[in-house]
Symmetry: D2
Subunit: 350 residues, 4 copies
């Protein structure tokens, strides 16, 4: 088979690779039909994630067809079309029993990180019964592949952790793909207003099309003032941080209302200054979370019922073997007005 293999910072390669095989009784081998690229993959390629070593196949998102299952797998059979969760979970450790699959004792985010991932013709999925989901007949694969990571991440880390409620005023700081996923899923709880903050007018326009009620371009450094004006000086009920840098974290601190929730989604590479001298008496809740994908079954129902159409985030499509072009487009997203970039296996090859 072929796969996108990491050979050190700046050295990805689409190359021939040994096909994975069943290693443990709970494994499944999945033939990838659709995959996509995550912002985290770009970080890996830059060398920011030391755990990823030379020779690793990248990718933690995908949809495919079961090729083979290990002897203890009971939920799936050869030929089933499945969604691959970015989180692998054993289902039987203390963390899994609390639905904190992200911190599974024998799983978590390992695909395309500690074990080979989904940007390949085939992938081995450990603990398949708990880490794959059956796709209903007729499900759109572009909708589905958004449920591997980006939708549950926006929903769990942003919307659920932020306790978005009907009537709330919500701010989403950063409306790249993850922020837009938070936006789409925030609407499941019918907030009264969703204020989107970003530096890029194109992204803000997309946010508006997806339901944002107010847009704030933060280029002038006055996002906090603008949001406070929009909220009559009260601040927001929920501030969702979807970037991962001190500047956007600061905006969240500056706009949060008394009793509000700051829900961090961003992957941070450095500490932030928490203005607890201002916040200690403001009844604030601040949360962090690696996505657990515990909400994936619900999100699949929401897609099946037509409440969510996450495939609208897809702006570019490539054949799998053009993956280096896809990385280039996604890596220069602003220039290409790119949101999510989808990789399609060529059916003819099988």
């Amino acid at each position: 088979m072929h796969a996108l293999v990491f050979h050190g910072a700046g050295k990805p390669s689409w190359e021939s690779h040994k096909k994975p095989v069943i290693d443990k009784p709970g494994d499944a081998i999945v033939r990838i039909t659709t995959s996509t690229i995550c912002g985290t993959d770009l970080h890996i390629l830059k060398g920011d994630v030391p755990a990823v070593t030379d020779g690793r196949i990248l990718g933690h998102e995908g949809v495919g067809i079961i090729e083979e299952v290990g002897p203890s797998v009971t939920n799936f059979h050869r030929g089933d079309r499945v969604l691959i969760s970015c989180i692998t979970s054993c289902g039987k450790c203390d963390r899994c029993r609390m639905q904190m699959y992200s911190h599974c004792r024998d799983g978590g985010w390992i695909l395309g990180n500690l074990i080979d991932g989904t940007q390949a013709d085939f992938v081995r999925i450990p603990h398949a019964d708990n880490s794959l989901y059956p796709l209903p007949a007729g499900a759109d694969e572009e909708d589905a592949v958004m449920l591997s990571d980006i939708l549950p991440t926006g929903f769990e880390c942003g919307v659920l952790n932020g306790c978005v409620k009907p009537g709330d005023t919500v701010a989403i700081v950063g409306v790249g793909p993850i922020g837009l996923a938070a936006l789409m899923t925030a609407e499941l709880y019918s907030p009264a207003s969703i204020i989107c903050v970003d530096l890029d007018d194109n992204r803000l326009t997309v946010a508006q099309q997806l339901g944002a009620t107010h847009l704030v371009n933060s280029l002038d450094g006055k996002a906090v003032e603008r949001v406070m004006e929009l909220t009559g000086g009260e601040g927001v009920n929920v501030a969702i941080e979807a970037v991962g840098i001190p500047a956007t974290f600061d905006i969240c601190q500056g706009i949060i209302g008394a009793g509000g929730h700051i829900a961090n989604i961003g992957v941070h590479g450095q500490p932030v200054v928490l203005h607890i001298q201002k916040l200690w008496d403001r009844n604030i809740t601040l949360t962090t979370r690696l996505v657990d994908t515990a909400a994936t079954p619900m999100l699949m129902k929401a897609v099946a019922s037509g409440r969510l159409t996450p495939g609208t985030l897809v702006t570019h499509r490539f054949a799998m073997d053009k993956i280096l072009e896809a990385y280039d487009t996604f890596g220069h997203a602003a220039q290409h007005n790119a949101l999510k970039v989808v990789l399609k296996a060529e059916a003819s090859r099988y």
Copy 2:
């Protein structure tokens, strides 16, 4: 009457003062029988709270007898013995309707801060129906006065916000009076372990008497390592910050387990560094809160049933007109092994 009047930093005075009168229909005048001193009062005396201006009577804790009520007060009558909440709440603004009394639009923490307080023979309590609680016959006044502030603060900001549950491992960082209040009320939820961290062995010994299961003296700068050892490397479920300085906040960050809660009680005067580069994927919840005293009725039931005996925190007692001595003792707490210092009105004076 007499009262403790603030005349600028370092200048408290026990002096003759005009007796308060009913100003609005919801007011009550309470004759103080028992009061106490809060750490915040020490901060005010140092000049750290600019909102408190020359001429202000200090104090936001107290028990007393209703002297007079305004025409719209219906819950209380002259002669009723009452507990005074440190938080004044109108009961009819949006914040009060959410039980966030701390941010009442016409109240919050105003006693001994924006209006005259309880370290006096008499005090005027606005919104009396929502800001006073009837004391049952036979209630001990030393138990009761701990419910003005310290018990609800430890409970709401520490225990409730920290989501302490049966079976949890809880760390309380700082076991001064507030930390001890968190300890006493944490036990209402039967955690499996309560690890107390402090610099002062005397306080740690008191914590042990009140139910701490493990003690860590943090003088050697190794509190984090020690707590991690005690928890087998897992960290704690709940870390309660009960000091309000960067060093203790850091300990909380260092010991929190995946999925855990950091509940801040401390009053911070400066920012802290939040190590979000380590915490972003750890499913952490961090909370701040000014006490709402929404839990006061429950705490009163817990005291009445004998589940809580907060009067055990009282180490020193003074006649009200010896209040300057009381401040001196409380201000040098370590030297006197002082926890809470109670002020008693002399019954003979009335």
Copy 3:
């Protein structure tokens, strides 16, 4: 002024009546501009509510203009346009402090029941600060008057108590006005399916227009079988009882899935048989509730933001002095395809 006065079963009268006056410091007098009729009013007229005695002005829903306020009212002033809650709450008893306003020690449902109501030119509202809501400029009065009772009832008793969540399968048994209110507000939580059950095809058609995904006419006595088919034998996550008779309660018992919620809204006049021999091990939650109107501020925001347009439930409009005709229409709702019937004061009279 004029008012609809109850003179015993079957004897309503639109007659001249003494205008109400301020009685207690917290009272407000409101000039009614829009009112409506509730199913409960029909019950009262039939003599089913013994607490309502001869001479009582009926009605507990309305929108109007503040005419006068008592001395302790601070939230409202003469000339303010307000929404009247069907629930009167003092804001200072133990029940109000838990937001269980329905069981306020000095309020609850008293309008048009224990004290004179809103089907009149003027009404006295006790505890006005907690029992009225300011209407924003430009708010539609037909939308607003639906928030006096029917929307919060459907939402709190049905949707909130039923814990409707994104992705859920919800059944609403009975889609009269209350059931439709539950339907409209259930959508705030984006369930995957809403199955509506009724005997009347016209109502089912309205339900479909308002978002029902499946319709079941229960005339053939096979509603349970039909819902079980629609759910693949699993039953529903939430069953909302919006009628108040044993037959509809039975349907709810028959269709509830393991772990599901039965949320009763219906006003029942007789006991029901609970098949606990089948339900004891099914992890079922059954709730009852008199509306607290604690959600009214949120619902007002949802209306203001355009998420809810409850005025669409209004099918008929009458001048206030034609109220007996309005009762006749509402009392024969099926014949007139009537849902909510609105009463408008004639502006020219003032």
Copy 4:
């Protein structure tokens, strides 16, 4: 090996039986060291549980030593001492992922019901990784065996479902072993009062020793009046039904306060009359539940920390091969003042 085999109503037999073997990759074979008898076992013996057929080994509670594990079991190894949960759960179906293990698609209560149980020398446990718990060194087996069923049942169905909170007034109707388990675990949440209702003074005395604050003998048919007196006419916050007959369910309906929770634990054989004509507007929550044993890890921590000592419920001990005598004692519990009856394997036999 030997086992207690059901041969139809009234025909149990302690007889030689084939030793179980690993059947599926997730199975474990456990050598029983301690078991006990449940009230449900008595029902089975009476023929009340038609699913249990001739030849079935009874028992769903036990502690033992792992004898052998299937190839996909990773949490346990030969020689580990384990607690057997009465609920078998696969950990990978939709119900298990919601922690509703009681309704596992390939498990639930099957031990001693649909498959052979624990009143034997050896038992096969399917889905061992999710259905067994490792016992810490030094754990008392009598404490532990109470965690197979009775403690999690009292806690989850009674205390958690009843939402027992600090300060609450709780009534437990029926203080047999299950009611006493609810009592012991209710105390983890520090209610202010626990009123115990039973017909048997001996059991009430035990309840008092375990922390009941008020006792009501219901023989005179006046339990409701008595509880209402004790609560000043308010009723209780939580009523736990721990018997399973209409009379006790009626007491719960009669004593529940506004906003209260009725938590059913009892196994009911017939319908009950629900007085919804009185309860519809009382904001009541009524729950049913088959124990999920999701709380077992927490309960094990509470035992390990000394907060719970459930072994105190054990009144009688028998060697395993005297199990018919044990059944006789347990079947005439009142006569023997029996609560839980423990069965001990004779170590010498191995």
